[in-house]
């Protein structure tokens, strides 16, 4: 199910916790699984449960509780826009409108070519750099004014 590299990452995570607490690695294993698969199909969730030796239901619960797991396929680039108040004061809403217009989709939608998914997000702990986007859960983009948004979309090949 998973590549050797992903399995190696799983092992590294499990090692952080006491030997009888493998369940603690659920979140990070799911994150690495999602990184490899692009999203979390149920087979991936079950495989994580299997790897950790815990009930699949326990892993489902975690996957559905936390916002950054994708239980449905997303575009190659998932762009999350922070629109919480501190960002909104410094252009968060505008940046969101701008990128929606450019891509021709709303929040929660994916472009027909499967390239982009847009999401509305909550505070990312970077409000001083507003407007803020995160691409594929990992890459934080600061000061997303029109020129920067254009540049980002161009760089997403």
């Amino acid at each position: 199910m998973f590549s050797a590299e992903t399995l190696q990452k799983f092992a590294r995570e499990v090692a952080k916790y006491p030997a009888d607490q493998r369940q603690s690695a659920t979140m990070s294993c799911l994150a690495h699984a999602q990184e490899e698969k692009g999203w979390l199909p149920s087979e991936a969730i079950e495989a994580v449960a299997d790897y950790l030796g815990i009930a699949p239901m326990a892993v489902y619960e975690v996957a559905s509780f936390y916002n950054m797991y994708d239980l449905k396929p997303v575009g190659k680039y998932k762009i999350t826009v922070c629109t919480n108040l501190p960002c909104a004061l410094s252009g968060g809403y505008h940046a969101g409108e701008y990128v929606q217009k450019k891509l021709g989709i709303g929040y929660g939608e994916t472009t027909p070519d499967g390239k982009f998914t847009l999401k509305e997000g909550e505070c990312m702990g970077a409000c001083g750099d507003a407007p803020v986007f995160i691409v594929n859960n990992r890459s934080m983009c600061s000061h997303m004014h029109p020129e920067q948004i254009d540049k980002l979309l161009e760089e997403c090949k």
Binding site: P18, V62, N67, A95, E122
Partner: protein, 442 residues
């Protein structure tokens, strides 16, 4: 983001952005000397805790609880595993200081945690990092590797017989995991749902073991307190409000960013450090301690100093030190609508008053904002508030209620105007003028 300014800076002093976070740089700044001194001189646990008590360091995560006192609750001689846990879940809207600490001075957090573990007899620790913050999480892991290789964490630290294993745990997007017991559940690999208290984490924490949880900035302050002595740290601030603190300033100022200033510094000075109001517009309101703190009218906070006592006297809380500045172009109904949406979204759903109450609050504020408000809506909001406060497992319920209460208290006129006239008191065409978003022609 970078540290944009400081007065008598301690935590972030002498740093050069991304260039000086490595172990060698930290050691060159005098880092790990306190851990070394404590272990070499066999300083007693009581003496370490007493130094922290003298500093009157108060928890930087939001509640402002005295750190030394919290540490003294740990059953130090309880046999078996004991934990110290660092809360870097930083999800309180407006707060972005812990990310900078992790990025620019991660070893201060590690040394602080190691000293804390020593003082409380803990042998294991975790740093729980906000899901959206990936690069800083990776950097912290690198810093841990450096510290392990240098023998500052791990087994038999510096030959003293003291063991402390420390790891990072990455969150994945849930504000509620900033609440300390939800955070523990999350480390255990479960949904982040707060636990009933008591029992408190000091007796039943991570995996049921004694645990102490502190904020990133709290831990990062510890080496500096040991270095300068508790009393000197206290004197940097003002009585009952020891030390310097990082303030994350966002919103309508010219230079949003992190500023380290002594507690007790006038708000007006902080505003000046941020280059004043963007476009020279008039200050309307400030949320001084993260979105869960009550909003203050501009003229009230202009007379306050930035410390726990003054802000509390002014009717709010210092919270996490996230200062959200709003100018006259902000529609307060719209602002509250966004915050209410946030709490509704992030309620973990365990308690009915919070789950249902946050949904109601959002629904009512949303309809007022959209011109569908009814004359009885403000009373309705007040009754919903009354049904949340004090009736929930964790403080998220209260955190959701405070903004609503304070927005209506100070800016009730705007809500009434909205209900009556189906539109904002602040004309639509000037709203968000202060956003600074570079408009390009359509």
């Amino acid at each position: 983001m970078a540290m944009l300014g400081s007065i008598n800076g301690v935590l972030m002093e002498g740093l050069d952005g991304d260039n000086t976070w490595h172990l060698k740089d930290y050691v060159a700044r005098g880092g790990y000397a306190q851990l070394k001194r404590i272990l070499e001189t066999k300083m007693t646990q009581e003496d370490v805790i007493s130094e922290v008590k003298k500093s009157v360091l108060r928890g930087r995560g939001g509640a402002g609880f005295p750190t030394g006192l919290k540490w003294s609750f740990m059953p130090r001689s309880f046999p078996g595993d004991k934990y110290v846990v660092c809360n870097t879940d930083e999800g309180e809207p407006g707060t972005f200081k812990d990310r900078d600490i992790m990025r620019y001075n991660p070893h201060a957090v590690i040394e602080g945690m190691a000293i804390a573990a020593y003082a409380m007899g803990a042998n294991r620790g975790y740093n729980y990092v906000h899901g959206e913050v990936w690069h800083e999480y990776k950097r912290f892991e690198e810093a841990l590797d450096e510290a392990r290789a240098a023998g500052f964490i791990g087994q038999n630290i510096l030959g003293s017989g003291f063991n402390f294993e420390l790891f990072a745990h990455h969150g994945y997007g849930a504000y509620i995991c900033g609440e300390e017991t939800a955070l523990l559940e999350s480390i255990e690999g479960k949904k982040g749902q707060p636990r009933f208290k008591p029992p408190f984490p000091a007796s039943f924490g991570l995996y049921g073991k004694p645990t102490t949880i502190n904020n990133t900035e709290t831990f990062a302050s510890i080496p500096f307190i040991l270095k300068m002595g508790g009393e000197e740290f206290l004197n940097l601030g003002k009585p009952n409000n020891g030390g310097t603190k990082l303030f994350s300033v966002s919103g309508h100022v010219n230079r949003p960013g992190n500023y380290e200033i002594p507690l007790g510094t006038p708000f007006a000075t902080l505003l000046e450090m941020c280059g004043g109001m963007r476009g020279g517009r008039k200050l309307k309101a400030v949320i001084p301690g993260g979105s869960s703190a009550p909003v203050m009218p501009g003229e009230v906070i202009m007379d306050c100093t930035m410390d726990y006592d003054s802000i509390s006297k002014g009717g709010s809380m210092l919270g996490s030190g996230a200062v959200i500045v709003m100018d006259e172009t902000v529609c307060m109904v719209k602002a509250l609508e966004r915050l209410s949406f946030f709490y509704h979204e992030e309620s973990c759903g365990q308690c009915t008053p919070c789950r249902e109450g946050t949904a109601w609050m959002y629904k009512v504020v949303h309809r007022i904002e959209n011109g569908l408000g009814k004359p009885e809506d403000l009373d309705l909001l007040n009754s919903v508030l009354g049904n949340i406060a004090g009736r929930t497992i964790c403080a998220l319920g209260d955190a959701a209620a405070f903004p609503v209460q304070s927005f209506i208290k100070h800016f009730g006129k705007e809500f009434e105007y909205h209900i009556e006239n189906k539109t904002c008191l602040v004309p639509k065409d000037v709203q968000w003028a202060g956003s600074g978003f570079h408009k390009i022609p359509a």
